[in-house]
């Protein structure tokens, strides 16, 4: 027996999909045994909802509100993926995963996809599939405004608070050596401790990934007393991850992301979506499924991108809603601006054709 689905698709249901008897879990894959192509998509459709692996709680990226509804940058992409596949952005169950167990959760089939602030690297791509980059991050520095430091090059001889054991530590060493500068590392075993040490002025600067620094700055007593320095000293391309071997599912996830990027490029927003469906522009028509029948090629409905944009909006909307100037994080678009934007960034999705 199962519960009846409550609420119509698209309504703001503050609940996970209704409980139901029946198939649970995603298809599993043995190590070294790839899931067959199409398996994940079929399983998600049969189940009726997506199992999306998210962060356990990261300011701006993934968190639950008072009513238990998940929100955030990565969460919006989960909903977009569900919308692409099932036509309903609420047909998702959010599975919190820790940084340690996220990949085994994916491989064992506890989740269909990770939208979990994961840096793509060679070795991760070798065992899993990276399905794009939804946030170009990089390591940077934060310093007190009063110190007069305006560039990382001003940090010669500075004490720098850092979390130990992270790639951040290696990047820091490399960068200072490359620039012939000296620094004094003040290391902590967790990011929180590094952050609070900086707050207590035990060091002159704090280093971490920029998105984390932005979150750290919000946590300071007076956020405006601290500046993020312009130098980015490492590449951290954060993006969705899926199981190796199911190429169709990789395409679905990659193009969900691409649809949001293309929509921004083409000026399609969740607000003007209905008007844009009447557009004569061939590119817009192909993206929104009015012609070309492209959705079917990856096992989706022709109007999949319409559902994606109706659910989460275009990339710019998702960014501004969760991370942008209107939020306490106040992150600038930076690298995460369209390639042809002003100023331009790295978002460059392959065309729909």
């Amino acid at each position: 027996m199962g519960l009846q689905a409550c609420g119509d698709p698209g309504s703001a249901v503050d609940e996970p999909p209704p409980l139901a008897a029946g198939v649970e879990g995603a298809p599993t894959a043995q190590p070294g045994q790839a899931p067959a192509a199409g398996q994940t998509l079929r399983a998600v459709k049969a189940r009726g909802y997506l199992l999306c692996g998210v962060h356990q709680g990261l300011l701006g990226f993934a968190y639950a509100d008072n009513n238990g509804r998940w929100r955030g940058f990565d969460v919006d992409f989960c909903r977009a993926t569900a919308a692409a596949v099932l036509g309903d952005g609420n047909a998702v169950r959010f599975i919190p995963t820790s940084s340690t167990d996220r990949f085994s959760a994916l491989q064992s089939g506890e989740v269909d996809v990770l939208w979990r602030n994961t840096s793509g690297t060679f070795s991760r791509d070798a065992t899993l599939n990276l399905a794009g980059v939804n946030y170009y991050d990089g390591q940077g520095f934060m310093a007190p405004r009063a110190s007069g430091v305006r560039s990382a090059k001003d940090l010669d001889g500075a004490r720098i608070c850092i979390q130990t054991g992270s790639t951040n530590e290696l990047n820091l060493t490399d960068w200072f050596r490359a620039h012939g500068l000296r620094y004094q590392p003040v290391v902590f075993d967790t990011e929180d401790k590094a952050r609070s040490a900086y707050d207590r002025e035990q060091c002159d600067a704090l280093t971490a990934d920029m998105s984390n620094l932005a979150a750290a700055r919000v946590a300071m007593k007076r956020p405006d007393d601290h500046v993020l320095l312009p130098e980015i000293i490492s590449k951290e391309p954060l993006g969705p991850v899926v199981r190796h071997g199911d190429d169709q599912w990789t395409d679905v996830v990659r193009w969900t992301l691409n649809a949001t990027i293309l929509a921004e490029e083409l000026g399609i927003t969740s607000q003007n979506l209905q008007a844009q469906r009447q557009s004569q522009s061939p590119e817009v028509r192909r993206l929104l499924g009015a012609e070309g029948g492209l959705g079917r090629m990856i096992g989706l409905q022709d109007d999949w991108a319409v559902k994606v944009i109706a659910t989460s909006g275009n990339y710019g909307e998702i960014f501004e809603r969760n991370l942008g100037a209107q939020t306490p994080l106040k992150l600038a678009r930076g690298l995460n601006a369209p390639w042809n934007g002003a100023p331009s960034g790295l978002l460059f999705a392959a065309p729909m054709r």
């Binding site: 029946g22 356990q56 919190p96 919000v218």
Partner: protein, 355 residues
């Protein structure tokens, strides 16, 4: 010779002054503690209670200088039950009541034997109510969370670990070298590893080795690991109890014609468990607090839910309240348990025998 008559009691103040005069170092320490308490308490009271904010939808409702408990009250459902579906919260309440009812017989000496049957039954029933068990709509364990999860793991793991721990303790005293060796090896390996490492192994390594189609969910895997971990510690507590049973008891039982099993079940174990009770409760308290470690495998227990809450812009920056609240909840439960354990010891103590 009659015992010395107690001296007539002097007024409290007089006794205190006498005690302090006899031990000046203690007096100084006591004074220091009192001064510190007097120094901290008013500020703490002011922060935690007098100036505190109790309700609100965002941190904007919080008053400056006081604790903001609105972060807890505004999401009490998550704090208690995680993300369990709203329409089914009664199942969480029912499961919690079932769990508590299952261990309730322990509170009375006459009924405590019943707990042998009711406690494991309660854990299985609570699991069934929460999961659905084919009768109710299915809610697999990844729906579970909040304080219920701490309660379920703490009680459930202890209840199933105890028989295993007793078996291990008996195995450790076995005359068969293979049995003894295996038990010793198991206990020492488990006791030699931090729980957090075993949890990682359960979450990360185990799924890679289970055959396809036979997947155990994350919480079940963690539960198994916690049961094994707790069993190893309980085994040592029980072993201590076994060692405390006088040899004469066994000899007397044998002389009465009881066979080895009857000797064990009716003579040795009841006494051994009585001796081991404080140590067992102690290890239960330790385990109960350790249940918060499941955060590392991505499960949102009461700690996880509140850690998540402070990443909501609405509550960002209220880490202190979140952690103080969790600490207070665990303190209330653990302090209650240790008081209960102390009273249990008194009731179980054999009259005329100093423990």
């Amino acid at each position: 010779m009659s015992p010395p008559r107690p001296r007539p009691r002097q007024p409290l103040a007089q006794r205190m002054i006498d005690a302090l005069r006899r031990r000046p170092l203690d007096a100084a320490a006591a004074l220091a503690v009192l001064i510190m308490a007097a120094w901290i308490a008013p500020g703490l009271m002011r922060w935690a209670i007098i100036d505190a904010t109790w309700t609100g939808e965002t941190k904007a409702a919080c008053t400056e200088g006081g604790a903001c408990w609105a972060i807890v009250t505004s999401r009490w459902r998550q704090v208690l039950a995680g993300f369990y579906p709203k329409d089914h919260l009664w199942r969480v309440a029912a499961a919690a009541l079932v769990l508590l009812a299952g261990v309730a017989p322990l509170l009375r000496r006459r009924t405590s034997g019943l707990a042998l049957a009711t406690a494991p039954a309660a854990v299985l029933l609570a699991y069934g109510v929460m999961e659905g068990a084919g009768v109710l709509p299915r809610a697999p364990t990844d729906y579970w969370g909040g304080f219920f999860l701490n309660l379920f793991i703490g009680l459930g793991a202890s209840i199933f670990a105890l028989p295993l721990g007793i078996a291990l303790a008996l195995g450790r005293t076995s005359r068969l070298p293979v049995v003894k060796g295996l038990c010793v090896a198991f206990i020492e390996v488990i006791r030699g590893s931090p729980l957090i490492v075993l949890l990682f192994a359960a979450a990360v390594v185990a799924p890679l080795f289970t055959p396809a189609g036979m997947t155990l969910d994350k919480l079940t895997r963690a539960m198994i690991v916690i049961i094994l971990f707790e069993a190893a510690y309980m085994a040592e507590a029980v072993r201590g109890g076994l060692a405390g049973v006088p040899a004469g008891q066994v000899e007397a039982a044998r002389a009465l014609g009881l066979d080895r099993w009857r000797t064990l079940v009716f003579v040795v174990l009841p006494q051994a468990l009585r001796i081991a009770t404080p140590a067992l409760v102690n290890s239960f308290i330790g385990l109960f607090k350790d249940t918060t470690l499941i955060y590392v495998i991505g499960v949102l227990d009461i700690t996880g839910v509140l850690r998540n809450a402070v990443t909501d812009f609405a509550w960002q920056g209220l880490e202190t309240e979140a952690y103080v609240f969790v600490a207070a909840v665990f303190w209330v439960f653990c302090f209650g348990l240790s008081r209960w354990s102390a009273s249990l010891e008194r009731r179980l103590s054999i009259p005329g025998k100093s423990a």
